[in-house]
């Protein structure tokens, strides 16, 4: 038992150790890495993944997956831009409607997974493809730009020296942590992901929990999409294509078990920073972007592999 505890704590801290090693290594390779301006750039880049990773953490805790979040971000990019530019809608209203739409896409995922019973990987894959098509139809394949004054603040503004997206990310992580640790929803997520049958027999309405989790995943992706839109200042139907890959990597790297039931928000924070550091560091080192893809693929395989090997050894 004591032994278990030691391993548990080591695993908990190991991820931070990896982050430190990575930072030191990149700094040695290129001292510019640790420059405050680069650190802020890194954090701003990371913010989009970070915000989206909170919903994904809930989804993976349940043992499911959400492949639609990249598309949700892009879709929000387009509709929010469209409403502001082509319809002349008030900025705040456009953002609110966009977030509602993102949540609705999540609810649609929930419907397919929970009520219909389609495996999450397929249901969200379908959503991914369909809404990508819809986004392209809305914008006619062209980027939309020319946003009202003030919209850029969300993605490009600063409070003191801290970029606003980073603040939004920090608040989101705090909310995520609060939901997981202080509310009964958090308890339900762990229970359902750990043992769905027992959770059901303990009175948890598993179907409702799934709806909620996919809806939250949609909402957080929507928010990430808004931040991205504001940062790039241009609505683009392929703005976040493939982002689900990075977000999933952040979450599993952070120690959330891909089969559900286990993981912490703090780990996901570390996982997100590691992905950010990797991407930023590789750019600074002038590593070819194709090679970057190879590295990212290996990182995902290693993160999940580590989790699986641990599971296997526990079973034996």
């Amino acid at each position: 038992m004591n032994n278990n505890k030691v391993v548990y704590h080591l695993k908990d801290k190991a991820i931070w150790l990896v982050l430190i090693v990575l930072v030191v290594a990149f700094t040695i390779a290129n001292p510019r890495f640790i420059n405050p301006s680069n650190v802020m750039t890194l954090l701003r880049q990371v913010a989009v993944f970070g915000i989206a990773s909170i919903g994904m953490t809930f989804v993976i805790l349940l043992g499911d997956i959400d492949l639609s979040i990249g598309t949700i971000m892009s879709f929000v990019n387009i509709i929010c831009a469209y409403m502001m530019v082509k319809m002349g809608m008030n900025m705040v209203l456009a953002v609110i409607i966009s977030l509602i739409a993102a949540t609705a896409i999540g609810v649609l995922n929930g419907l397919m997974v929970s009520t219909v019973g389609i495996p999450a990987i397929i249901a969200t894959f379908a959503t991914q493809t369909a809404f990508n098509g819809l986004a392209l139809i809305i914008c006619g394949g062209m980027p939309i730009s020319g946003f009202p004054d003030g919209f850029a603040i969300i993605g490009q503004g600063y409070i003191g020296i801290v970029p606003i997206p980073v603040i939004i990310m920090a608040v989101c992580f705090a909310i995520g942590s609060f939901v997981l640790n202080k509310t009964y929803f958090g308890r339900y997520f762990y229970a359902v992901g750990g043992n769905m049958e027992a959770a059901k027999l303990s009175g948890i309405r598993v179907g409702v929990v799934k709806y909620l989790v996919f809806a939250l995943s949609g909402l957080f992706s929507g928010l990430a999409g808004i931040v991205l839109l504001s940062r790039t200042n241009s609505g683009n139907a392929s703005a976040a294509t493939g982002y689900e890959f990075d977000v999933i990597t952040c979450v599993v790297l952070g120690g959330v078990s891909i089969t559900g039931g286990f993981g912490k928000m703090s780990g996901v924070v570390a996982g997100t920073f590691i992905i950010g550091a990797l991407q930023n560091g590789m750019v600074l080192m002038n590593i070819n972007s194709y090679v970057q893809d190879i590295v990212m693929g290996i990182v995902l395989a290693l993160a999940v592999g580590f989790d699986c090997i641990q599971k296997k050894s526990q079973q034996n």
Partner: protein
């Protein structure tokens, strides 16, 4: 001597860590006979036949097939030596034809091409030999369960099986199908095939078998000649163990007029027309064999399975729980049989496990009242005497007995008034068993709960219950009052052989 027998198991012993599943079991099978293998749940029948098939390696003992001696079998070796087993779950491919299934694994070929026509021709011959009428071209999925079983048997014979072991072959069949299966089995006996026939249904055993081998608690008890034996003797042999365990006594605490649960003609989930009552302060035992429909009944009451018709009356009001959540809110709890899969949530803490059903009640705007959460967990740790250094301990690190106490604590915390126990002490060591029994006594005596207890252990059933109801194949076959408790009566009802006992 050994020439007379086609299969001999000598002094077979099988140990699992902490358990001896088979102790010195000897079995002899003659050429062209049907040997019935009987025993209660857990008597070791399945383990014994798995020793013959190679699925289980005996710890010690010898297996002789046609005089050839082996210390253990492998599936390959078993089939080479003409041993075939018909399991309850068929090994067939539903999308292929009867003929293709018959030759599954070794199809007739013409070069590298499978010769369908030849297989169909051979299959027709094989079915003919067993007097069964199946179109070899018919897809497996279109055949009834009875015919699918026939294909299995034909397949075994086609592969030259001389020893056929059938594990509860009649269980999935309708009575008409059973009759055709008997005819096939009798035909095989005439053709010189030796058969080991496992069944709970005593009438079948009398109808079919030449000899009967009785196992009990992993031990060989006796082999009888069927026509010289009597049902009562057989039942006695199956259950006749000494009652060794002592059960904690409890006072008379039954509130006669306070019926907590009443079922009226409840049908569904495999059960038919079940009527029962559980009163406050009473422990009602639910006996029967595995698969008799007891767990299924519990699922209906707990809202985990659908009821087709009939009424559930809880505390005087008709209720119809459609989910466990609704049942829990009414005050019904289920302590499931498979603790690890359905009961405890192993990966989370004791505190969370105990509070799980009542988190919503103890939250304000979805934020958990953590003081209350802790206080409740602490209270039931004390009440249940859960041995743990911390309430944050993960449940997977607890012993079986302590896990069971966590689950019990959970239901008490949820203010349940009716607690259904499904095999309350399965996989729990002797000392902890006693503690669970005491807790159950306290529940009815001090807390005024009502308990419905499903158990396959005769002693537990008789030691703990105020009354025992017995189910057999989805029907309620008997109700036994405390004065009439005996293993023989329960067993007779459970094998639905009541009429035979009365005749005898």
């Amino acid at each position: 001597m050994s020439e007379e027998y086609v299969l001999e198991l000598e002094h077979i012993r099988k140990e699992y860590p902490g358990v001896v599943a088979l102790k010195d079991v000897t079995l002899q099978l003659k050429k062209g006979e049907i040997l019935a293998l009987i025993g209660e749940n857990g008597a070791g029948k399945s383990t014994l036949i798995k020793c013959c098939s190679g699925a289980v390696i005996p710890t010690s003992g010898k297996i002789k097939v046609n005089g050839k001696e082996f210390t253990s079998m492998t599936p390959q070796l078993a089939s080479e030596n003409g041993i075939a087993i018909i399991y309850q779950e068929f090994n067939n491919v539903k999308e292929l034809s009867a003929a293709e299934n018959l030759f599954l694994g070794h199809p007739i070929r013409k070069g590298i091409i499978v010769d369908k026509a030849a297989m169909e021709k051979e299959a027709a011959k094989a079915f003919d030999r067993l007097h069964i009428k199946i179109n070899p071209k018919e897809l497996m999925k279109n055949l009834t369960v009875g015919y699918q079983q026939m294909v299995e048997i034909a397949k075994a014979i086609q592969q030259d099986a001389k020893i056929l072991i059938m594990d509860e072959p009649s269980a999935p069949l309708t009575s008409k199908e059973v009759e055709s299966m008997f005819e096939v089995v009798e035909l095989l006996r005439e053709q010189g095939v030796s058969i080991i026939y496992i069944s709970h249904r005593l009438e079948e055993i009398y109808r079919l078998s030449d000899r009967i081998l009785v196992l009990r608690d992993g031990e060989y008890i006796k082999t009888l000649i069927t026509k010289d034996s009597e049902v009562q003797e057989l039942i006695q042999l199956m259950v006749g163990r000494e009652l060794t365990e002592t059960y904690p006594p409890r006072g008379d605490c039954i509130k006669k007029d306070d019926v907590v649960l009443e079922l009226k003609n409840v049908t569904g989930n495999g059960d038919r027309n079940i009527n029962l009552q559980v009163r406050r302060g009473e422990i009602v035992g639910l006996g029967g064999l595995v698969g008799a429909g007891r767990t299924e009944l519990a699922e209906i009451i707990f809202g985990a399975a659908k009821k087709q018709s009939g009424q559930i009356i809880f505390k005087g009001k008709e209720v119809n729980p459609k989910s466990p959540r609704e049942a829990i809110d009414l005050g019904i709890a289920l302590v499931p049989e498979d603790r690890k899969r359905h009961g405890a949530m192993l990966g989370i803490s004791i505190k969370n496990n105990i509070n799980m059903p009542i988190y919503q009640r103890n939250s304000t705007l979805s934020v958990i009242n953590s003081k209350k959460e802790k206080a409740i967990a602490e209270k039931y740790r004390e009440n249940m005497a859960i041995k743990t250094p911390s309430l944050n301990q993960l449940v997977k690190n607890l012993s079986g007995g302590n896990q069971q106490k966590v689950i019990l604590g959970r239901w008490l915390a949820a203010d349940s008034e009716l607690i259904i126990f499904d095999e309350p002490t399965r996989g729990i060591d002797v000392g902890a068993k006693h503690e669970i029994y005491k807790l159950m006594n306290d529940l009815v005596e001090k807390e005024g709960k009502a308990i419905l207890m499903i158990s396959s252990e005769m002693e537990e059933l008789m030691g703990m219950s105020d009354r025992i109801l017995v189910l057999a194949e989805g029907d309620m076959t008997g109700e036994i009052s405390k004065e009439e408790f005996s293993q023989e009566t329960i067993m007779a009802y459970a094998s639905a052989a009541k009429s035979k006992v009365e005749e005898a």
